[in-house]
């Protein structure tokens, strides 16, 4: 039997505002429990929500970036259910009229492009956290996170493999990071993916019963959780069972999903418009304002890198993976004046060093300015590519700029023809037998044999002689 997987994702992106969505309390991560829980976060009797306008701007940015329709009249609704970390007994969310309507993003898997539909994205407040450890027989409640703004991004069930789901999640991640509206930190829960997964026979058009997978905190786990779930569902159906609609938790340690609650236990959320908040009207002026301040998006930037810098599609893709990476490249290249060489250094030595030392493009000790300064010296032949590796190493260790290191270590390339000629003459004079052999050899062997003389010259010059010039002089004199 030929099975087909159908996946839709619900992504919760925590919006990078300083204060909460309906109060002035801080949203900073990692504070002592309940130190960022103001009266509103605590759901005290008599307190009222006041919308943080910044979240509306951020949602408009996202909607614009995925070419979506924007909800001009936004109504906040109450989603009612009881849970200890939900202080008011309801979550303020959007129901019938979300701020971001249908849009789409392009993904690429194994060189194949595909369009994934985004059904909607809406604003809502996060709940707090229940702490089950540390309290014998009790549960602790931390309401620091309660009221943190979230943008819930709901996709169409357009993905047909775990790989596509990961590519889509990465694309959304890239977009919100580029826009600067979410820090994208999955470990801290600022970017969370829930996956709706079902399977069906390939020839069937109707979707199977889906399970919703929760508790996935990395792209790697997203792929694993989906793959596990797909296999589970296929095994179940093939052995005569039936998939039930339910929420399943992914356990990364055991690499499995297990049932959390079934649909029968699901709440009737009794959504209704929140009477404490007025509808938010979005004007053309607000949209124009956001559009004019929108940063260049990853796909556009990738295309520009390809055309402006004559980079391959793959290089352009890698260099625009994150906004920080792309900014790094552009800064370094502006100094270096050689895009291809700059790209090679970033994706080669720099990436290797970052991987080795556990740094990223933002925390790299070799800044874009430093790298650009060094590549410039390779491009203008001040140093050879080989010596540049030593310069890079020194820069990584904090020894200063490329120019300072070249100066201090005397690494400047010898390009003075007279000086190189003197060394060439000396090498030829002290190796008469090899000169003889070379001259008697057939032309097709000479190419290889000249390497010996080049090596000798470079050795005598401590690697500083310009290799092109050395080659040229040797050919003339031999």
């Amino acid at each position: 039997m030929q099975w087909e997987t159908v996946i839709g994702l619900e992504i919760h992106a925590q919006l990078a505002t300083r204060s909460k969505i309906f109060s002035g309390a801080s949203t900073a991560y990692g504070a002592e429990p309940n130190t960022q829980a103001c009266l509103v976060s605590l759901g005290m009797p008599g307190v009222l929500p006041v919308l943080n306008r910044e979240v509306v701007r951020m949602a408009i940015m996202f909607g614009t970036a995925i070419d979506a329709e924007l909800g001009r009249r936004n109504v906040f609704a109450r989603k009612n259910y009881f849970y200890p970390d939900l202080p008011k007994g309801y979550q303020i969310s959007q129901f019938e009229l979300p701020i971001v309507g249908p849009g789409q993003v392009e993904i690429s898997v194994d060189g194949e492009s595909k369009t994934i539909g985004v059904t909607r994205a809406h604003l809502e407040e996060d709940a707090g956290k229940s702490l089950h450890e540390d309290f014998r027989g009790m549960t602790g409640i931390d309401l620091n996170r309660a009221g943190t703004p979230l943008l819930e991004i709901v996709s169409e069930p357009d993905m047909r493999s775990a790989k596509e789901a990961v590519a889509y999640a990465r694309k959304i991640h890239q977009i919100v990071r580029y826009l600067g509206i979410c820090d994208g930190n999955m470990q801290e829960g600022s970017f969370r993916c829930d996956a709706n997964v079902s399977v069906k026979l390939k020839e069937h058009t109707e979707f199977g019963t889906r399970a919703e997978l929760k508790n996935i905190n990395s792209f790697r786990f997203l792929e694993r959780a989906i793959n596990f779930e797909v296999e589970r569902q296929i095994d179940l159906i093939e052995s005569g069972g039936k998939v039930v609609q339910e929420t399943r938790l992914y356990d990364a340690d055991k690499d499995e999903t297990r049932s959390m609650r079934s649909k029968e236990e699901a709440n009737d959320y009794r959504y209704f418009p929140d009477p404490d908040l007025l509808p938010v009207e979005i004007s053309d002026a607000m949209i124009d304002d956001v559009k004019s301040a929108l940063p260049e998006m990853p796909d556009m930037r990738r295309d520009r890198f390809e055309s402006d810098f004559e980079l391959s599609q793959q290089d352009a893709e890698s260099l625009t993976a994150s906004r920080e990476m792309a900014d790094y490249f552009e800064t370094a290249n502006a100094i270096a004046g050689d895009a291809k060489l700059t790209a090679n250094w970033i994706m080669g030595e720099l990436s290797a060093a970052m991987n080795r030392e556990g740094r990223d493009i933002v925390t790299s000790p070799v800044t874009a300015e430093l790298l650009g300064g060094m590549v410039r010296r390779i491009a203008d032949k001040t140093i050879s590519g080989k010596l540049a590796k030593d310069v890079f190493e020194a820069m990584w260790n904090g020894e200063g700029s490329a120019d300072a290191i070249i100066e201090a270590k005397g690494l400047k390339q010898i390009t003075d023809t007279g000086a190189i000629e003197a060394i060439v003459d000396e090498v030829l004079a002290s190796n008469p037998q090899q000169v003889e052999n070379y001259r008697n050899a057939p032309d097709d062997k000479k190419g290889k044999m000249i390497g010996f003389f080049v090596g000798q010259v470079m050795k005598m010059s401590k690697g500083k002689a310009n290799p092109q010039q050395v080659n040229q002089l040797l050919r003339e004199k031999l």
Partner: protein
């Protein structure tokens, strides 16, 4: 006697040095001590803080920095959060709750120099029309202690009527200021929705709740409202419409004023005595130069039913926060989360609150939402349209605040539907968000009757002007119950 004076008269006495705020406060505290045992209008008396605030007020008066309410002893309905003071909302659920902050109304009045004597009794979570559903026992009407004072702001109405304070705050979701004001023979104003901040006012039905003042006279109410009204950035539904000087227009002529009398407010359900009193009051207005017009508010008949869908719907959600987790009543030794929720809420809430939570939960449920909640919202729009059309013809609308005078204690205890129906004249105003005032007119068989005047949006100054002109030409607001 000091307690017989209105706020206006007391303010004059304070400024002239006839008496100090401390003396005034001590006088009222003594009266509360002596009389409130039977009336039960206060849940909490804050004697020490009151004396302290009175001293500060006296210093302000001495320094020439006094406003019209500086040094005036008032009481707050126990629905307003008061920093460091128990705020119970008349419920066992919040019997142990000390608010950690002040409501906007409370801080505004304090900043204006008013002295808080304490917190007044009320129907539990403001749900009721008799002030009998309080965890702290029923409030008694000082005109006849066998009768209810109306509700839900019954404690405030009684405290003012029995002269246990000079003025008080109330809240009005479906008539909770106007109806007890009517039953107790005082003046009570429900402002336009959004005129007074709801911040710190414990929510019953957020789209209908509105705070307002209760006092002996319209002039007093104007002074109180002046301090209470205004935009508050912490309440998204509060209005930034400028607040006029309410006392500046009190004396304006009402010559040519167009008064509308809706036929629906004078139908078969209206007590004959109440009808006569209201008609007499209208006659007085005629003699002051007003024109009377018959009008129609055709959707009046739908008001109670739709109100009792919208208000419970919002209440069912607003009261979800009382779950025994962070504050308020928590049951003993819960075995698990569900037990904690069930027992804390079953024990913490009284019967009327539970009834409304259940109704509200039902009307918002999947499958019933359209038939109930959405339909009620549509009726709400129709009611607003009725008023909009009426205000194209008239300046204000007059009628009774309640179909009868105060009922006997316990009379409606087992009959919630007849209690709901008695809200017929007041809920209309809340559904439309309009301002309304109730002023005392001729009593019926010794029990007070209120004339309700409904105005257009943000037309409080006109309502106060009209009420004041009436009070300049009548003495009903001067009547005091015997035995106090």
């Amino acid at each position: 006697m000091m307690h017989e004076k209105s706020v206006t008269e007391l303010a004059a006495g304070l400024r002239s040095g006839e008496f100090s705020s401390v003396e005034l406060v001590e006088h009222y505290l003594e009266r509360i001590e002596r009389l409130d045992g039977e009336l039960n209008s206060f849940i909490t008396v804050t004697a020490e803080q009151a004396i302290e605030q009175a001293r500060a007020a006296d210093a302000r008066i001495a320094a020439g920095d006094a406003g019209p309410v500086t040094g005036i002893p008032i009481a707050h309905k126990d629905i307003y959060c008061t920093n460091g003071v128990k705020t119970s909302c008349g419920s066992r659920m919040l019997d142990n709750f000390t608010a950690p902050y002040d409501a906007n109304v409370v801080s505004r009045l304090r900043d204006a120099g008013a002295v808080m004597l304490g917190k007044t009794n009320m129907d539990e979570f403001a749900m009721g029309s008799t002030s009998e559903s309080s965890f702290y026992g029923p409030v008694k009407n000082p005109w006849n202690t066998g009768r209810v004072p109306g509700g839900s702001s019954g404690g405030s109405a009684v405290a003012v009527a029995a002269r246990l304070c000079a003025a008080a705050t109330g809240t009005d979701t479906g008539g909770s200021i106007r109806q007890p004001a009517s039953h107790c023979g005082i003046t009570g104003l429900k402002p336009t929705y959004g005129r007074v901040s709801r911040y710190g006012m414990i929510a019953y039905a957020s789209s209908l709740d509105q705070g307002g003042p209760m006092a002996q006279t319209a002039e007093d109410v104007a002074f109180l409202l002046q301090a209470m009204a205004g935009f508050d950035e912490r309440d998204s539904t509060s209005s930034d419409t400028p607040v006029p000087d309410y006392s500046a227009t009190l004396e304006d002529s009402i010559e040519g004023l167009k008064i509308g009398l809706p036929g629906e407010y004078f139908d078969a359900g209206l007590d004959e005595g109440v009808r006569k009193s209201v008609e007499e009051a209208v006659e007085l207005y005629k003699s002051l130069g007003a024109e009377i017009r018959e009008i129609s508010l055709p959707n009046t008949g739908l008001a109670v039913a739709s109100y009792y869908v919208v208000a419970p719907a919002e209440c069912s959600s607003n009261l979800s926060r009382y779950d025994g987790v962070r504050f308020g009543h928590r049951c003993d030794d819960p075995v698990d989360l569900e037990d904690l929720y069930k027992r804390s809420r079953s024990e913490g809430f009284g019967a009327e609150v539970k009834r409304r939570i259940m109704i509200g939960t039902y009307v918002l449920s999947a499958g019933y939402y359209d038939a109930f909640y959405l339909k009620a919202q549509k009726i709400r729009q129709l009611i607003s349209d009725d008023f909009r059309k009426a205000f194209e013809q008239v300046d204000v609308i007059m009628g009774p605040a309640s179909p009868t005078t105060a009922v006997a204690l316990g009379e409606m205890a087992d009959d919630p539907v007849s209690m709901y129906l008695s809200d017929v004249y007041t809920v209309m105003t809340n559904m439309a968000g309009l301002p309304g005032i109730s002023i005392p007119v001729a009593p019926v068989e010794g029990m007070p009757v209120g004339l309700q005047i409904t105005g257009n949006y943000f037309d409080e100054a006109r309502l106060l002007n009209i009420a004041h002109r009436f009070q300049q030409n009548s003495d009903w607001h001067r009547l005091m119950p015997e035995g106090v």
